[in-house]
Amino acid sequence: MSQKSSNAGPNHGRRKFLQVSGLGLAATAGTGIMTSKALAKVKTNARVVIIGAGAAGLDAANRLSRELDGAQITIIDSRVEHIYQPGLTLVATGLWKASKVMDENARYMPDGIDWIQARVIEFDPETNSVLTDTGQRVAYDYLMVTTGLQVNYSGVEGMSPELIGQMGIGCVYDNPNHATRTWNMIDQFTDVGGVGLFTRPRGPVKCAGAPLKVTMLSEDLLERKGNRDKAQLFYTPPAKGLFSQPEINEFLKEELPSRGISLLWDHPLVGIEPELKRATFETPEGNQTLDYDFIHVVPPMQAPDPLANSPLSWKTGRFAAGGWMEVDQHTLQHPRFQNVFGSGDCVGTPVGKTAASVKAQVPVAVANMVSSIADRELSARYNGYTSCPLVTRKGQALLVEFDYDLKMVPSFPFVNPYEKHWFPWMLKDRMLHAAYNAMLRGRV
């Protein structure tokens, strides 16, 4: 499918006027996720605004500043520190120090772009502008939305971020402080044992493997401490599956019970009573309560409020409930506001919400935005690539990579994705952080 930018936005006149020289844009790879490679910069005086300086935002900023000549590129985000989020599961299970995941956005900002340190509180695609919490209205010709997602602690009654690290409550989402406090709880729990509940909410979450990894690494730690028989572990999925990719789902349905982790199907967590150490689950048989000594709370997630409440979010269909940004799942262009593109956790696509999908999405979104600026066909395609080194124990993992068709697409054909190996663990422990940083610089 190829789609041509109609430049149908309200600022059509100005954008038509934009000085674009097609010095040789982007010969595209045509199929799959692989992206256009700019042969030469596209000259333009377009105002390009990027919202969010996380994984996707920084990657997009670096690529756009390399591929556009003369554009005014602005990035808006109040956050100064950069968190390597894929490392948080290792922090929460005591395998990494929190300092290892801390970094600074400034290190990855390309030269010559404007960084407005504020948060967007309103998206107004009808007037091609956004409003920040400092009262600044920023106009754009092209918009790249990369706001990530919002963790809704209030989606679990009785839960709040302050509780993490107290009264047996842990939550790996989504900063080093929470991960460290979670580690304090897991460390205590694996010393004394008891009942451990590991939850998973309804709806998409970032890195769907993270709740599973926390569960399996906690079990492994109990084993390594010689305390496995002191603990009863339960994993509580919200439906009757553990993972969207069918073969990995089957693998996990064997792996968890084989390690004495009981599966409580159809058990989305809806409330906790921290003082009583009691959790409530909304099951098909009605609400059920379970007592715990440790609980890993994974709250429901959604697009950040300003985006969810804007005209840019899905209004119907399966992604409307989370307020996810509407995009064409292959071109990552907004179907109604065609000067708007999105990538990363904020977009409503059938597969995604990993740094690995960011790595595959951003080159596509950028190539298509550049094509749109140059008034060319949007020919770059995202095929749904996502990946997760599914860590099963310290030192062992599965390298899971699949696409929209839920077909495995292994990068290393010699590594069986259905078997546990040390090699993917080595990647996770030593190489993927470097790959992530290279991605932030728009180099992979």
Binding site: G395, V409, F414, E419, K420, F423, R430
Partner: protein
């Protein structure tokens, strides 16, 4: 996911970024030694090659032995032939780097 040379180099650059000053110092010293030994006509003589081969082999065996501990685990975590082959391949890479890097140094030794 497809790999590109630029991408692989970018990842290696990020992986070794904290060591870049050290790496640059070693490479500069090596180039200087290379230039010196070439100008004296004594680069990579038979004895130097033999010594560097031994050094490369030592690097390779060392990398093989410490490889797992660099990832916080022991050989006990190795579950498949793939793991051994990958560690072996990485160790061979380290061995080759050891050979190349020591060759200008061993070339200083009189033959």
């Amino acid at each position: 996911m497809a790999f590109s040379i630029v991408g692989i180099l970018a990842v290696l650059l990020e992986a070794f970024r904290p060591l870049i000053p050290l790496i640059v110092a070693v490479v500069v010293a090596d180039i200087a030694l290379l230039a010196y030994t070439v100008s004296k006509g004594q680069f990579a003589h038979a004895k130097a090659r033999r010594l560097s081969l031994w050094a490369g082999a030592a690097f390779m065996v060392g990398a093989f032995l410490v490889g797992p501990s660099l990832t916080q685990v022991t050989f006990g975590s190795f579950l498949s032939i793939t793991d051994w082959v990958m560690l072996g391949a990485m160790s061979v890479g380290v061995g080759i780097a050891g050979f190349v890097l020591t060759l200008p140094m061993t070339s200083l030794i009189k033959f």
